[in-house]
């Protein structure tokens, strides 16, 4: 394992955790649809997507753990809510509204593709090697969700109306994915997280708006004031703690159990 400069270890791990935490909760929210998907193919798709997201989270936790000594399980399940770095958009429940689930995935999947692409250019080889694999899988997610956004947006008046309502509800949460992490600049400067958030934001909005245009939909995606929330700094919605309680119920019974 190549060495990271000591002072960059903490922000680097923090950055990996933010990516893994987004994937973990997005995957969990997706897995709630298993058995309840609107059609059989989508039931299978959502379960597969959840499995992908969980696998991606797990690989990122393992990498973070190889740097700071914790296990993937400890990182996934052994932290308190304020120690997570996920954005609000992966925390809120979708109330089993299919359009909301799709809208959430739409914003997150495009963001993740860009973030993983930056990871794939990292000077830290274990991350760039892993991220190249993840990018290939993430492409499938993006293609799939774009397909649905366009299909529902241009389908029937009813599907368009419901997709637009979902975009109205979820869209405003989406830019918080870009809330800056602490100490990100030294990582960018060291080539560990190359590129710029501004460029990434521009690329994300351009892609997202392009697809929304094709789907005859719109979304309000204004970046809020930095004081608004703060998932990247551990300030979460009311939904995270109960979701964690549910996810960690078995782990907490016997944290040292081997699986």
């Amino acid at each position: 394992m190549p060495d990271l400069p000591e002072h960059l270890k903490k922000p680097f791990v923090n950055m990996l955790l933010a990516a893994a935490d987004d994937k973990l909760f997005l995957g969990h929210r997706n897995s709630e649809w298993t058995g309840l998907g609107p059609i059989l193919e989508e039931d299978i798709a959502f379960s597969s997507l959840a499995q992908d997201d969980m696998a991606h989270a797990s690989a990122l936790y393992e990498l973070a753990g190889s740097i700071d000594g914790r296990s993937a399980d400890q990182l996934a399940f052994g932290r308190t809510a304020e120690q997570y770095r996920c954005a609000a958009i992966v925390e809120v429940p979708d109330e089993f509204d299919w359009a909301t689930a799709i809208a959430r995935r739409f914003f997150c999947n495009h963001f993740d593709l860009l973030r993983l692409t930056r990871f794939s250019q990292s000077a830290y080889k274990p991350l760039s090697d892993l991220a190249r694999r993840l990018v290939a899988e993430q492409q499938v997610h993006v293609t799939h969700v774009d397909d649905w956004v366009i299909r529902l947006g241009t389908g029937t008046p009813e599907s368009h109306k419901r997709m637009q309502q979902a975009m109205d509800a979820i869209g405003p949460l989406a830019p918080e994915l870009f809330e800056p992490l602490d100490d990100l600049k030294p990582l960018v400067d060291a080539g560990l997280y190359p590129g710029s958030d501004f460029t990434m934001y521009d690329e994300w909005t351009a892609t997202v708006e392009h697809v929304l245009g094709q789907a005859h939909l719109s979304a309000q995606m204004e970046v809020g004031s930095p004081e608004d929330r703060g998932g990247r700094r551990g300030v979460h919605t009311q939904y995270l703690a109960p979701m964690l309680d549910e996810m960690c119920e078995v782990y907490r019974l016997e944290p040292k159990a081997a699986w």
């Binding site: 193919e41 299978i44 696998a55 090697d129 993840l134 492409q139």
Partner: protein, 172 residues
């Protein structure tokens, strides 16, 4: 000293847990090394995961350890999963493609990758976007039924000519 080729021959008898193809034909094996030292003869197998965190990886690792471990003269076996080079469907051998096809699983053709967002694009998932020849009757009257299937690496297609469903590997 144990011969590398005989280790590869043993690896060739290990099937993928989820598909009718050996792990060698699937292109999982990147390298095989043998070293002799204080620990005796140690075989090191470097393997590439198909999908990140594929649940079959542990099973494959155990199969390699036990089957190669049974070879005379082998004292221990180490399996290392690496992501460099990345596995891709292009690593599947001709024999492997043939075996999969016989079982109704098709593999994307080599090449033909698009660049999207600086990364490789996958086969379009939009229904009807790409004709994949049916593995049973050869017809191209096929369509994507579901971009997701029994495992994370497979999609489901349907052939309108012979009315069979078949599976197609995702291009990663």
């Amino acid at each position: 000293m144990i011969d590398r080729q005989s280790i590869l021959d043993v690896l060739r008898t290990i099937p993928d847990p989820e598909m009718p193809i050996s792990i060698v034909d699937l292109g999982l094996i990147e390298s095989v090394g043998v070293s002799s030292g204080a620990d005796g003869n140690v075989v090191e197998v470097v393997a590439l995961p198909t999908f990140v965190g594929c649940p079959a990886l542990d099973m494959i690792r155990r199969d390699i350890e036990s089957r190669v471990g049974e070879m005379p003269g082998v004292d221990s076996v180490r399996v290392q999963w690496v992501n460099d080079p990345p596995w891709s469907v292009d690593r599947i051998s001709e024999a492997g493609r043939e075996s999969l096809r016989e079982h109704g699983v098709t593999v994307p053709d080599a090449g033909n990758r698009l660049e999207v967002h600086g990364g490789p694009a996958t086969v379009p998932l939009t229904v009807g976007a790409t004709a994949i020849p049916c593995p049973f009757c050869g017809s191209t009257e096929t369509r994507l039924d579901s971009a997701f299937g029994p495992t994370r690496c497979r999609m489901i297609y349907y052939c309108d000519a012979c009315r069979n469903a078949f599976e197609h590997l995702k291009r990663v």
